[in-house]
Structure formats: C-alpha cells, structure tokens
Symmetry: C2
C-alpha cells in the first residue's frame, strides 16, 4: 500500500515569520510517519521558506525567471527546510532521503509538469522514505517557475499509482458556510459556492485549486489537520474526503 | 553546441584531506566555464568528499546499502561539495543551478543507470548551466549504490545528444609507457598493455574503466588537465582524444 502525504507549508513552518520552523509540529508529523505501516512518500510545502523568495523575485507557477540567483535563492531556502524535515524524520526513525524537484522535474512549454518517478518507486521498494518539496524548476520558454507541493502530490500519486493521498493542512478539512468540515466532495459544483471560483491566496493556489486538482486525480484524497495524521495512516478518512475520479469511491 | 564537462574529484578537492576544497582550481575551472561559448553541462567527481563516506559505509557502484544514514551522509557530503562548486561558478558569472543525481536517477536490477535528462535539457535551453555530481542513488534490489561522475557524463552525453565531452583530470591525458600523453585512442586493444585490464583505484573506477566507457560512447571525448580546460572550450582537442564510436572522428 503506497501513500503520498503532504505536510502543508503552514503546518511545518511559522508562515508569517521568514524561515522559521514549527519544530513541535514537525516532530509530531515525523512520529506519525514513523508509526505508519504503509510505504510513504512525503511531500512538504514551502511555508515561510520558499514563498518569501518566490514573492521577492516575482516567480509563481506561471511567471518564470531566467535569473539564476533567483533560482538558487528559492531552491536554497527550500533545501534548508527539506534538510530540517529529513533530519526530524530521521531522528524519529524514518529512513528518509531527500528528493529535490529542481533536480528531477521540468515543465513543458504548456506548463505541464513532467516528473519522472522511477527513482521514487525504487526508493520505496528498497525501504526508503523519499521526501520531496515545493520547489522551483526549469520551464520550457519561461526560465524557471514554482512547482507546488500539491502538484507534486498529484504527479507522484499518478506516477506511482498510489492507493491514497493525504493533505495535512492548517485546517481540519474543507469547511462549509458554517465552518463545519465537509465529509466528502464528489464534484466541484457541490462546493463552488463555499470555495468561490478561485482563491489565489499564495503563489501555489488555495483551497479551491486544491479541491479541483484532487477531483481530477484517480486516487482518493483526504484533507485534514495534523491532529488527524495518525488516524489517516491507520486507514481512516479524517477531515474531508475528495473522492475524485476513483471508481471504487463513487 | 552542447558540451558535457567533468571536473575530476582530484581536480576540485585535495583528495587526501577529508572534505577539503582546492579553491584555486575550482576558481580557475569556473572562469573557464564562464568564458565558454557552448551550452555547458558540468559534472564533478567526489574527491575527498564522497569517497570518504562511501568507503566508510562499504558502498560502491555494485555494493549497496539499505542504511538511510549512509545514504544521507554520502549524499550530504556531495551536496556540500556541489554547493561550493555552484557558488564558485556563480561568482564567476556562470548561471549555475544544482542537479542532484539522487533526486533524479536510479539503477535497475541489472545495475544499469537510468537518468532522465529532460530537466537538464530544458535548463540548457533556458540559459542555465546544470551542475551534477557523483552521488549515491537508489538501486533496485541493492538498496543504494554509488554513481560516478564518469557514468553521469556518459548518460548525459547520450541523453542530450551532446557534441563533445571533456574530462578535466589530475593528469594531462592517458599516458603511455614512457609517460607521454597518447594523442588518440580508437580501440581499447591499443592501450590495454599500458592501462592494464582493470584499475580499481577508487570506488568509481580508474583510467582503464574510463577509457572503456568513453569508447562505448558515440561522442568524441577528451581527457586533459585543468591547464587545458580553456583550450577544450575553444574547440581544440587537448590531451587524449578517445574517439569512441563517433563516425566523424574515425
């Protein structure tokens, strides 16, 4: 059983303080990953590490840069965050190894993400836990652009034919108009009124973009808070289940 | 015109002193890359950074490890060396960006190296200079093994259909029995007596393995010392030309 779990940038960092880790949250997430029985791929967001530099250099998922200093600064900040998370996972007993999307992936001229996953697949088979992260990467015709953790989750779940996806976020799920957690979403129309047509809160998209992306994915995905990460690894479906195109779930 | 250049580990580091850079050599190489007119991919070896940890953990190109600490230590040392070389290249005005083979490549069960090169190709097209390095990577059935800079050069030259390969080494070329540089090698038989059947001086193979590998490559390759790096970028063929299977050179 292969599970792709994303630790949101706002979970693992203090999002308002540049390059500040949330050490307690990272340790807690690391213990949950260590206790999981599944083959786990970890992806983490940028939080206060990547976004800061991406904003300063005007780089987003669509607005690129050809400035190598910008690429190195954004990537360097994400590498520092990745180092900290890999180290925390290792301290908790997780056989974590880093995988940097700048090294592995690329966008084509249409903006499509190409992420070969053969290396990640073999890492899993050999007992390692690959740890990826939101990053900057080469983009045909645009220099280099941001790749979000959510995009990586989708590419990995597809490439690895994963059984389940979990997005550990700052909120306990997708909330309805009364701020109650919506148990399940099968179609965007069901939640369009609550989420709005778009939500560009940061360079990597907000909840509306997240739900749309997960609905297109043929793997059931759950959105939940850190409190529910253990339950997710136990096979429960905490928070909001975005059932997407998976026929078993419909 | 695409050129793949390897800076040998014994060129960029003090090979006998653990984790010690040869700063003057790195700066000199960086200036040469900065002056090059070609699209350049840089690969560097491990020198006193990677070999030290690989030896300690008993990891080679064929003997693997499933110990994640070993993987992280070997990779971490190579990442520190890569950081230093990328920084030196950047200081010289080269639009360098790091590419870590652990993140990108994998060995299959037969030991064959699979290195997707779409990301490197787009980096070149967008004006960046990718900088790769000898590393550790996932190996089906063996945990993780070493990938040498020479192997990466071959995989890159093939994947990118490169026009030329340069190996900047500690010696001025392949030497004959009188220690004179051999101008050109077209077949291993021509030099077998001088090089010996095998030469396993370090975990990543010696000159005999290098020559054999380059002969199998469909791209003309030159082996030369740092003094000749500028001449190589000027289109000359300093040191020893290993003509390999390239029909234009035979």
């Amino acid at each position: 059983m292969t599970v792709v779990v994303k630790l949101g940038g706002s979970v693992v960092t203090e999002k308002d303080e540049p390059e500040t880790l949330d050490g307690a949250a990272i340790e807690r997430a690391a213990r949950a990953v260590a206790a999981a029985d599944e083959e786990v791929v970890v992806v983490h967001g940028g939080g206060s590490f990547g976004h800061h530099y991406a904003t300063r250099h005007g780089v987003s998922r669509t607005d690129g840069t050809t400035d190598p200093t910008a690429v190195r600064e954004i990537h360097g900040a994400m590498q520092r965050l990745n180092d900290a998370i890999v180290e925390a996972l290792a301290d908790a007993g997780v056989p974590a190894v880093p995988v940097h999307p700048l090294s592995a992936g690329v966008r084509d001229a249409g903006g499509g993400l190409e992420l070969p996953t053969g290396q990640v697949e073999t890492m899993l088979e050999e007992g390692f836990v690959p740890v990826l992260h939101g990053d900057v990467l080469a983009h045909a015709g645009a220099g280099a652009t941001i790749v979000s953790g959510d995009e990586l989750v989708v590419a990995l779940a597809t490439g690895l034919d994963a059984d389940s996806v979990g997005l550990c976020s700052a909120v306990p799920g997708v909330l309805d108009a009364e701020d109650a957690v919506i148990d399940r979403i099968d179609a965007f129309e069901d939640v369009a009124a609550v989420l709005g047509g778009s939500d560009a809160a940061d360079v990597t998209g907000g909840m509306a973009a997240k739900v749309r992306t997960l609905l297109d994915l043929g793997t059931p995905a759950s959105i939940f808070a850190l409190d529910d990460l253990d339950a997710f690894f136990d096979g429960e479906r905490p928070g909001t289940l975005v059932a997407g195109g998976d026929p078993d779930e419909s």
